[in-house]
């Protein structure tokens, strides 16, 4: 068979989203790849310019739809820096709790999609089943399963319900057992090791040169986690380890993500304990009225009075489930951000696709791309 280009996407079971991987193959060997993005480009950075600070939160949920709360957190941190607002401590703990639960939810979603890529059908269903527990927990205090609109500049929208801590502990206990089962289903199978060991190798130097972050970087042995290296919210107050592996291959990424979920459970046990014993306000005081409204359904018309408050530039970086996400918010003294710029970790991880795909086989593309965990919403924005 001579060389040929095949389009894997935009409608292809491998893609987990809307993108096109153009692959040049010779027989079954991959010679070259060219990711083609932009099929889900919704112009979020542009329409943010037309929205209030709190209204942009709505878009953040949809930017990365499997890690909505992490992206809300990212944007809120940058906005608060740009607007010179400090949230109360309880709000910070609630945000941490949200982010860690979101990390578990996102990683379970990754697990479900990834095992489906290597042909395991049952764990997909198990993953979706267990993820629903996390979503139910979110639903108990945000009212939504996936798009929460929960965080606000200066705090969070509402406090947690009184039953939250008990439910959260139950979910954590259940998940601890289930992760053992997940490992049995994957690592216990020699076919899994045959498929995933020494596959999609991206060494630490290449990772750093191509801007790859998150579990992919940690799987190459680089111990970088923004929660440790540049603590935001109250991550300096909780105790956890950074998950690292050596292989730089698909198995290593699997191990890193599974370990991260266990560490998230460890963090969550601490934050849930803290939340149980420290009631308090969840919204900063002395906010401008349009920012402080707890349910913040601020229409454009009623609040367009020109106010005079300090300009500023905000920058935040968050260890999102997929890697390092960054936001850059420019505040020019109006109700709308002047410019919002986001850095998506998967954007960088996918841009290095040529480094970790070329030389492998067509059958290896789904596991490798599955281990990258692409979420196209945040790539295209």
């Amino acid at each position: 068979m001579s060389e040929m280009w095949i389009n894997m996407g935009p409608q292809h079971p491998m893609t987990h989203g809307l993108w096109n991987l153009r692959v040049r193959i010779d027989g079954e060997v991959v010679l070259d790849v060219d990711p083609e993005m932009g099929y889900l480009h919704r112009g979020i950075e542009k329409i943010s310019e037309d929205r209030h600070y709190n209204e942009v939160v709505t878009l953040m949920d949809r930017t990365c739809y499997v890690a909505g709360l992490a992206w809300e957190h990212l944007y809120i941190l940058a906005s608060e820096q740009a607007l010179h607002i400090t949230p109360p401590e309880r709000a910070q703990y609630i945000r941490m709790t949200c982010e860690e639960f979101q990390r578990i939810g996102s990683h379970i979603m990754w697990y479900a999609a990834f095992v489906n890529d290597i042909g395991l059908m049952t764990p997909f269903l198990y993953g979706m089943r267990d993820r629903d527990l996390v979503l139910d927990l979110f639903q108990s205090f945000t009212g939504a399963r996936m798009t929460y609109e929960y965080m606000r500049v200066g705090g969070v929208r509402n406090d947690l319900p009184p039953t939250f801590t008990d439910q959260a502990r139950k979910v954590l206990d259940w998940l601890t057992d289930r992760f053992r089962e997940y490992d049995q289903l994957c690592l216990g199978s020699s076919i899994f090791h045959k498929r995933c060991d020494h596959l999609g190798v991206l060494k630490a130097n290449d990772c750093i040169a191509h801007g790859v972050t998150g579990p992919m970087l940690r799987s190459a042995g680089v111990k970088r986690d923004l929660r440790k290296d540049r603590p935001y919210a109250r991550y300096d107050a909780v105790d956890f380890d950074v998950a690292v592996a050596d292989g730089a291959d698909v198995t290593a990424r699997y191990l890193v993500r599974m370990e991260e979920m266990r560490q998230s459970i460890r963090i969550l046990r601490q934050t849930v304990d803290w939340l149980e014993h420290h009631p308090g306000p969840v919204m900063a005081e002395h906010l401008p009225r349009w920012l402080g409204a707890p349910y913040a359904p601020v229409g454009r018309e009623g609040y367009l009075l020109k106010r005079n408050y300090a300009k500023g530039v905000g920058f935040s970086a968050v260890e999102e489930p997929h890697g390092e996400a960054q936001a850059y918010v420019v505040n020019e003294g109006t109700e709308h951000p002047y410019r919002v710029k986001f850095r998506s970790p998967i954007f960088a991880n996918l841009s290095a696709a040529r480094q970790y795909l070329v030389g492998y086989r067509v059958a290896d593309i789904p596991p490798i791309m599955g281990s990258v965990d692409p979420c196209i919403g945040e790539v295209d924005r």
Binding site: M1, M4, I6, M8, H12, P13, M14, E28, V115, N116, D117, I118, G119, L120, M121, T122, L125, Y126, R129, L185, C186, S189, I191, F192, K194, R195, R361, V362, A363, D364, I365, P366
Partner: protein
């Protein structure tokens, strides 16, 4: 009381119809209708129709069985809402696919595009004409039924490749090439496993093979052959972990990507038909066919059609194991699959042939017992 066989049933039916027709026809025509040649020919047609209907019904039931079983493995229920417990779901799918348009890509070759799936289904259906399902329930005319069944079974990669090539789709082509490579590679270990059974039984006739298992079923001493046979059969049936030709993750739907409507129904149907053949062969070769061990009280086997009943039960259990494997294993890669086939399965098959030869020489093996004396 002579046991009713499928052929005797169809012959009686044919005879009844012929004499009924003959009584209303003029004498010249009556002689023709009731002549033994016409009655026999008609009996063969009835015979074929019965087998065809039973096979189709069984295959559709098998799909239902897989869907329900797979659902239970996955902590859900599977088809529920069409018919009782979803029993009619597959009929709905079938009717719908027959009604749907068949879209042929302009660049596709019409001959191969339509011929491939049709021949694939017809050849696979033909296998059931010669497989015995109970004592006397077969054509009974062939001493080499097993060999013939496997020969027809081996046609499939050709037709798959023809249809994949002529759909003019890159994914189809890759799926077709994988399929051909895999099926041909696993043909050899499959036959080696079968040869070990044949050596012990001393015959290619499936009736004889079942008869030879009256003292002990062959899966015990020939466990190696069973493993090789099941692995090779999984590859031939293209089921997980060997479902590379239709590996959903990378090759959209594999070699049937371009097929929709009726021809897609042919493909789906034939896949399960072949799964049925695989399960039936496993039961016949290793699990005593329609017989039960001698310690089972005779009340279990003394009623009519008991042989068919137990045969079906065994077949569905064996297929359940295939579904279990599907629910719990990932998919392997093409090169790994071929390497396992040539490097592991063939040596194992040779060892099992050797074991079978020892078994024949020893005649009696503890704890299984002795082979029946002819």
């Amino acid at each position: 009381m002579s046991q009713a066989t499928l052929y005797s049933v169809s012959y009686d039916l044919s005879n009844t119809i012929a004499s009924a027709l003959g009584s209303v026809l003029p004498s010249g025509a009556r002689d023709l209708i009731t002549s033994s040649g016409v009655v026999t020919g008609f009996a063969v047609v009835i015979f074929a129709v019965i087998i065809l209907a039973a096979t189709m019904l069984n295959t559709i039931l098998l799909i239902w069985w897989e869907r329900k079983l797979l659902g239970r493995f996955m902590d859900r229920r599977g088809a529920m809402h069409v018919g009782f417990a979803g029993l009619l779901q597959n009929f709905a799918d079938g009717f719908k696919l027959f009604r749907k348009d068949t879209v042929k890509p302009r660049e596709a070759d019409p001959l191969g595009f339509y011929f491939g799936p049709t021949a694939y289904m017809i050849t696979s259906l033909a296998i059931f004409g010669i497989l015995p399902i109970s004592s006397g329930w077969d054509t009974g005319a062939l001493p080499l039924t097993l060999l013939l069944a496997l020969a027809i079974f081996a046609f499939a990669p050709l037709f798959i490749f023809v249809s994949a090539w002529s759909s003019n789709n890159k994914y189809s082509l890759m799926g077709g090439m994988r399929s051909a490579a895999q099926m041909i590679a696993y043909e050899v270990p499959l036959l080696l496993a079968v040869v070990s059974v044949v050596i012990v039984a001393g015959s290619f006739d499936l009736n004889t093979i079942v008869y030879e298992q009256q003292n002990y079923w062959f899966w015990g001493p020939l466990i190696l052959a069973l493993i090789v046979f099941v692995a090779a059969m999984l590859a031939e049936m293209e089921r997980i972990p060997f479902d590379l030709p239709e590996a959903e993750a990378e090759l959209v739907e594999g070699w049937n990507t371009e097929y929709g409507g009726m021809f897609f129904a042919f493909f789906m149907f034939t896949d399960y038909l072949r799964a049925l053949v695989g399960s039936v062969l496993v039961v016949l070769l290793f699990f005593g066919g329609w017989t039960l061990p001698s310690w089972v009280p005779s009340v279990a086997t003394s009623w009519p059609l008991a042989g068919i009943f137990w045969f079906m039960v065994k077949t569905y259990i064996v297929f359940g194991v295939f579904v279990w494997i599907r629910a719990s294993l990932p998919r392997v890669r093409t090169d790994q699959l071929l390497r396992v086939g040539w490097n592991r399965m063939i040596p194992l098959g040779l060892v099992s042939v050797f074991v079978a030869a020892l078994l024949v020489v020893a005649k009696c093996v503890w704890p299984f017992g002795c082979l029946p004396t002819p």
